[in-house]
Symmetry: C5
Subunit: 95 residues, 5 copies
């Protein structure tokens, strides 16, 4: 999984019918030191993550292993809001 900050929202009215009701979020990928990498991806929000929150997202077929995304043309899903992580014994982020 990759780390990201929820940077914004996206609206798409005209879409595959199976995507009706899903929330799309624009994610800004984070490096392990909590800095932004400059890479963006659009993900479905399966857990209710607000703009500004730091999250983990899964890609590929694994992005369809939630009730919200099962069987839908979705290749990235927010599956957790991150509380904290540490690297080499140093905390890099705390919610």
């Amino acid at each position: 999984m990759m780390l990201a900050r929820v940077a914004g929202t996206l609206v798409a009215t005209d879409k595959e019918p199976s995507l009706e009701g899903l929330s799309f979020r624009v994610l800004s990928q984070l490096d392990v030191d909590n800095s932004e990498t400059g890479t963006y991806v659009v993900a479905v929000d399966a857990i209710g993550a607000g703009v500004g929150e730091v999250v983990m997202y899964a890609s590929g077929s694994s992005a369809r292993q939630t009730e919200a995304t099962d069987g839908r043309p979705c290749d990235a899903v927010i599956m957790a809001i991150v509380d904290t992580w540490e690297v080499n014994g140093e905390e890099q982020y705390r919610k």
Copy 2:
């Protein structure tokens, strides 16, 4: 999912029989600020997106989760026409 502008069309008469009747679009990937990244991909159009429209596409096995692409050798599909997105509270694009 990634953002893209529909840049053009592609015709392929001699192809896997299961692809008969599908429309192929040449997509120019967009960055989050709506600028073109210079990366291109060919996707199946599952929703009727015209040239010039800004869309989202899904890749990999997720690209087969539409009626048009189910069970077909297709690894990228247009699954939504984008109305608008915003990043850090600023609108980046509006249809």
Copy 3:
């Protein structure tokens, strides 16, 4: 899908039994302006594409959605010979 020119052939006698009888092609990836990117991949030929032809190939699990590749350890397949494509109203290639 990605665009490529069939650059050559590959022979492998000692292989997974399920791959028996398949044809392997060395593909030179094409950019959208029909120039070679310098990236190569080996793909199974599901449609009878000759050396020199411009084709589309699918990657990942989608590469197994043909009769030739179903259930086989193959992650890239030629699924169409391209007739023509255009970008921003200009033809980039014609067979």
Copy 4:
């Protein structure tokens, strides 16, 4: 599979219900000479790997082929603790 050193841990309380009870590890990818590449990924730990250990991880749908991750939105899993590897007859790492 890729090689990595377990660099740290990650805690996420608010997550997809199916992920309850899984341990997340921050992995620092290793090059074949056992140096760090600077690339990080978050993986589920399926085998009890401690911080500092050198491991292999699998990505994509293959990351769901363990009892811990089956059917869950997880795209990277630690599936082995590495004892040793060698390249061109020279040992690069020993536990």
Copy 5:
């Protein structure tokens, strides 16, 4: 599929039980002119490829389409030993 030279071996005693008995190989990816790209990957050997041999490997879910790797957390598999390939009519490698 990608081309590689089998550069070495890897031993991992403590691993997912389903991986018991599999052989891991360190692969050095080859470019189409048979030069090494400097990229390495660890793959399961499904066909008995020795160190030094030039092989093809498949990635992702396709790496599980062999008897050895079916249902296992493996994302790269050696599925063929290469005899020869040619590009633009010139032989690039012969076993």
